[in-house]
C-alpha cells in the first residue's frame, strides 16, 4: 500500500467528516473511506424524558433541519399516545415544514453548492465560496440572503423560533393562526414562490447546461431509493407511506412501523455513522462494482420514488426532468436539480395552505394523557427520511429510542460515490486541490 490522501475537514457540508483515499504502489486509488467523526448519543440521553418534551429536545439533532426532527418527533408522540391531531394542527405543521424547506434549499443551492458551479470546481479555495459568489453576482446574492432570511422571519414571527422550535407537540400545536397572521404571511409566501421559480430558471439556463459532463462523471452510482408518497403516489414531505425502490425501478411500499422489516443498520469500525441498508436485498456490500443493499434518500430519491409531484409547477418540472434523465435518474449531481424541483413544491404548498380557510381554525390541540406505547413517526427532512421510533412507559416517560435520520441513510451511497469520484480523477499518483474538490463535490451533492 502506498500513500493516504486525507481531505479534512470535508467542507461546505453540515457535519464533521474526513475522506481518506489510499493509493496503491502505482498511485491509483485502492480504497476510499468517508469517516464520520461525531457522535452525540441522542438515542441514550432521551431515555427518561417525558414524551411531550421530545419534539423540543430532538430538534437539536440538526440546526439546519430542526423543523423536520421537531415534526417527526411530534408524530412519534402522537402514535405513542394514540392521539390524532386536529386537521388545522396538521396544516400548521405542514406550513411550517414547507417554509423551513424553502429556506433550507436556498441555503444549500446558493451558499454551499453554487460556488463549485458558479466560481468553478478548480478555482482557488479562497474564492470558491459564498463570499466569492457575493463578489461575482452581488445582486443575486443580495436577493438570496433576503429570501432565506424572509423564510426564517416568517417562522420566527408566527412560531416564536425559526431554529429549534417548540410549536408542535403530541396532539397538535401550541397556538392557532389568526386571520391577521394568515393575511400577513400569504404575500410573503408568494414572494418565496416567485423566487423559487426564478431559481429553477436561473439554474436551468445558467448553471446545469455548463456542467453536463460533470453530472455524467462525478460520483455516479446505480443504487436504490427511499422516500415518502401519498396513497396516490404523490411526493409528500409530511405524511404517507414509505417507498423503497430498487435500482431497476421496482419497489415495495410499507407503513412506518414496518421499517425494521425493511431497513437494517450495519456498523463499520471506521465511522461513528451507521450504514442503513435494504435488508431484503441481501447483506450490505459496499463494493463499487457490486453494491448490495445500498439505497439513497434526500431529494433525488424522493423524486425517483414518487409517481408525481403534489403541485402543478413542480410536476411540470418533474416531467421535463424525467424526459431528460429517466426514472429512476441515477446521476449523483442531479441531486442539485431535484432539490430545486422540490423547492417549487415546498413554496407552492406554503401558498396553498395559506389560502386554506381551515388553517385559522382555533381547534389545534387534542389534549393527551400519558400511557404506555410505542410509536414510529416519520417525515421527509430535506436530507432524507427521518424515522423516530419511541417507546414510553405508563407515565409517558421514554424508555427506548431508535433514530434513523436523513443523511445516515445516505452513508453507504456517499462512500460509494466518493470511491467512484476518486477512482475517476486520481490516476498514477497525480492529484491537486481541484481534483480533491471534485471528490468532495460527490459528497456535497448529497447535502450531508
Amino acid at each position: 500500500m502506498g500513500k493516504v490522501i486525507n481531505i479534512q475537514p470535508v467542507t461546505r457540508i453540515e457535519g464533521h467528516a474526513k475522506v481518506a483515499i489510499t493509493l496503491d504502489d502505482a498511485g491509483n486509488v485502492a480504497d476510499t473511506k468517508v469517516h464520520v467523526q461525531a457522535l452525540r448519543g441522542f438515542e441514550k440521553f432521551c431515555e427518561g424524558r417525558p414524551v411531550e418534551e421530545m419534539p423540543r429536545i430532538v430538534c437539536h439533532i440538526c440546526g439546519i433541519c430542526p423543523w423536520a426532527h421537531h415534526l417527526a418527533s411530534s408524530k412519534a408522540g402522537d402514535a405513542c399516545l394514540g392521539v390524532t391531531p386536529p386537521p388545522a394542527a396538521v396544516k400548521l405543521r405542514r406550513l411550517m415544514q414547507s417554509i423551513a424547506y424553502v429556506s433550507d434549499k436556498i441555503l444549500n443551492f446558493y451558499f454551499l453548492a453554487a460556488p463549485d458551479f458558479v466560481i468553478g470546481p478548480d478555482a482557488d479555495y479562497s474564492v470558491r465560496n459564498v463570499v466569492g459568489i457575493v463578489q461575482a453576482a452581488p445582486d443575486i446574492a443580495k436577493q438570496v440572503v433576503k429570501m432565506r432570511h424572509l423564510g426564517a422571519q416568517m417562522l420566527e414571527h408566527f412560531a416564536g423560533r425559526a431554529i429549534h422550535p417548540t410549536f408542535s407537540l403530541p396532539g397538535g400545536v401550541s397556538k392557532p393562526m389568526t386571520e391577521a397572521e394568515r393575511a400577513e404571511m400569504l404575500p410573503l409566501a408568494q414572494e418565496l414562490l416567485e423566487f423559487s421559480k426564478f431559481s429553477m430558471n436561473f439554474a436551468k439556463e445558467n448553471v446545469f447546461p455548463k456542467y453536463l459532463d460533470a453530472i455524467k462523471s462525478i460520483g455516479v452510482i446505480e443504487v436504490g431509493y427511499l422516500g415518502t408518497v401519498t396513497d396516490d403516489g404523490a411526493l409528500d414531505f409530511y405524511d404517507g407511506k414509505l417507498r423503497l425502490m430498487k435500482p431497476d425501478g421496482s419497489y415495495d411500499d410499507f407503513t412506518y412501523d414496518q421499517y425494521v422489516d425493511y431497513i437494517g443498520e450495519w456498523v463499520e469500525p471506521w465511522s461513528y455513522q451507521k450504514f442503513p441498508y435494504a435488508k431484503k436485498w441481501g447483506k450490505l456490500n459496499l463494493s463499487l462494482d457490486n453494491p448490495v443493499g445500498v439505497y439513497r434518500t434526500n431529494c433525488l430519491a424522493r423524486i425517483n420514488v414518487a409517481d408525481k409531484m403534489a403541485t402543478p409547477l413542480a410536476q411540470a418540472e418533474l416531467e421535463e426532468f424525467r424526459a431528460a434523465f429517466g426514472r429512476p435518474a441515477h446521476f449523483t449531481l442531479l441531486y442539485h436539480y431535484a432539490r430545486l424541483i422540490e423547492l417549487l413544491q415546498a413554496a407552492e404548498t406554503a401558498v396553498l395552505l395559506l389560502n386554506d380557510p381551515e388553517i385559522t381554525s382555533p381547534d389545534i390541540r387534542t389534549p393527551v394523557t400519558p400511557k404506555a406505547g410505542r410509536g414510529v413517526g416519520c417525515v421527509e427532512a430535506p436530507r432524507g427520511t427521518l424515522i423516530h421510533d419511541y417507546t414510553c412507559d405508563d407515565q409517558g416517560l421514554i424508555t427506548n429510542v431508535n433514530l434513523i435520520v436523513g443523511t445516515t441513510h445516505n452513508n453507504a451511497a456517499i462512500n460509494l460515490s466518493v470511491d467512484q469520484a476518486a477512482k475517476t480523477f486520481i490516476k498514477g499518483g497525480k492529484y491537486d486541490q481541484g481534483i480533491l474538490n471534485k471528490v468532495e463535490m460527490a459528497i456535497r451533492a448529497y447535502d450531508p
Binding site: K44, H149, H164, P269, Y272, K274
Partner: protein, 314 residues
C-alpha cells in the same frame, strides 16, 4: 482593512451558524469587514494543507476565533486548542460552547453506557463492537463547555444565540472593544405576561395540554406560565433570546421557556433558584417530572450533570 476570523464547530448541530446567516442583510454589511480565513461550513480551507500533505493540524492566525459546540472527543479538544493558540479573542458561540448544551444531557451516563445503547441495543442495528479506528476520535469522559478546556474571552449564549447579539458582539470587536456580554436580566424581566405572584397550586402540569390564552390578544393578556401551574424556566434564565426588541421566543410560541440562554450570571445555581421561584408562587418543585434533566437541559457541562452513584444494594 478587514479583520481575519476563524470559525469552527465542535459537538454542534450547526444551528449557531444558521443563526449567523439569519442576521440577514446586516450580514451583508458586516461581511466586507470580516475575512473568514477558516470556516468549514462555508470555506474550503483544510487542516493539513489543501492537498492533505501536512503532518500537523493547522488553522490560520486570526484576530477573532468563533467556536460553536461543546467538547465531546479528543479531536474537539485538539481543534479548540489550535484555535485558541491562533486567535487573540475567542468567542464561545451558543449554549453548547457556553454550557455543554443539549448534548451534555449525555453526562447523566458514562460514555460506555451511551455507546452500548447506540451500537448494541437499537431496534434496527446489528449489534456490533464500538467503532474504533484512528479516524474516529474517542470520547472524553464528559461533554464539556469550552471554558472547561481553555480560556474563553467572550460568550454569546443561546440555543441558538439571537442574530442581533452575534452582529452586536462582532460590531463591538470591529470597533476595537475586547469584551462583550449580555446584561444580567432574567427572561421574566423581559416577558410581558400578567403576574399575580401566586398560582392555583397542585402538582406542576406537564405540556400535555396547551396554555390558557386568547390567540387574538397579545402576551400582555396571558397569565404567567408558572402561575398557570406549568413549568417555565424564565425566572432563572438569562434574557435576550428574542434579540434587542422581541418578547421571549418560546413565550411568543405560547410555550414555556426551558432555559436555552443559560443562567443569569456566572456561578448561579439555576436548579436551586428555580425551586425557590416555584415555591414562591405556591408550587411544589418536587412535582416537576424529570426534574434534574429538565432544569439542566442546556447546562449539563461544568459538572451540573453527572452519572448518579449506584444505589446501595439493600
Amino acid at each position: 482593512m478587514p479583520v481575519n476570523v476563524v470559525s469552527e464547530w465542535l459537538n454542534a448541530c450547526s444551528g449557531c451558524e444558521i443563526s449567523i446567516l439569519n442576521t440577514g442583510e446586516a450580514l451583508l454589511d458586516l461581511l466586507p469587514h470580516l475575512n473568514f480565513v477558516h470556516i468549514p461550513a462555508l470555506v474550503d480551507h483544510k487542516y493539513y494543507g489543501q492537498t492533505g500533505d501536512g503532518t500537523t493540524l493547522e488553522i490560520p492566525e486570526a484576530v477573532v476565533g468563533i467556536v460553536s459546540g461543546g467538547v465531546r472527543n479528543s479531536e474537539h479538544e485538539h481543534v479548540l486548542k489550535e484555535v485558541r493558540n491562533k486567535t487573540k479573542i475567542l468567542i464561545a458561540l451558543g449554549s453548547c460552547a457556553a454550557y455543554g448544551g443539549i448534548p451534555a444531557q449525555a453526562n447523566m451516563w458514562k460514555p460506555e453506557e451511551v455507546f452500548d445503547k447506540v451500537f448494541r441495543h437499537s431496534a434496527s442495528t446489528e449489534p456490533s463492537p464500538d467503532p474504533q479506528d484512528p479516524n474516529v476520535p474517542p470520547w472524553i469522559p464528559m461533554c464539556k463547555a469550552l471554558d472547561e478546556v481553555t480560556k474563553v474571552d467572550i460568550t454569546i449564549p443561546g440555543c441558538p444565540p439571537h442574530p442581533d447579539w452575534i452582529a452586536d458582539a462582532l460590531t463591538a470587536l470591529l470597533e476595537g472593544k475586547t469584551a462583550w456580554s449580555l446584561p444580567e436580566r432574567s427572561v421574566c424581566d423581559t416577558c410581558p405576561v400578567i403576574r399575580e405572584k401566586k398560582s392555583a397550586g397542585g402538582p406542576i402540569k406537564r405540556a400535555l395540554s396547551n396554555l390558557e390564552f386568547n390567540a387574538a390578544e397579545g402576551l400582555d393578556k396571558m397569565r404567567c406560565i408558572n402561575e398557570q401551574g406549568f413549568f417555565c424556566m424564565g425566572p432563572v434564565t438569562l434574557a435576550g433570546c428574542a434579540g434587542k426588541t422581541g418578547v421571549p421566543r418560546c413565550i411568543q410560541a405560547r410555550t414555556p421557556c426551558r432555559g436555552c440562554f443559560g443562567p443569569i450570571r456566572k456561578g448561579a445555581r439555576p436548579m436551586v433558584d428555580m425551586m425557590g421561584a416555584l415555591t414562591s408562587v405556591g408550587l411544589d418543585p418536587k412535582t416537576v417530572v424529570d426534574r434534574r434533566a429538565i432544569m439542566n437541559r442546556y447546562i449539563g457541562g461544568h459538572g451540573f450533570l453527572a452519572p448518579l452513584p449506584a444505589r446501595p444494594a439493600r
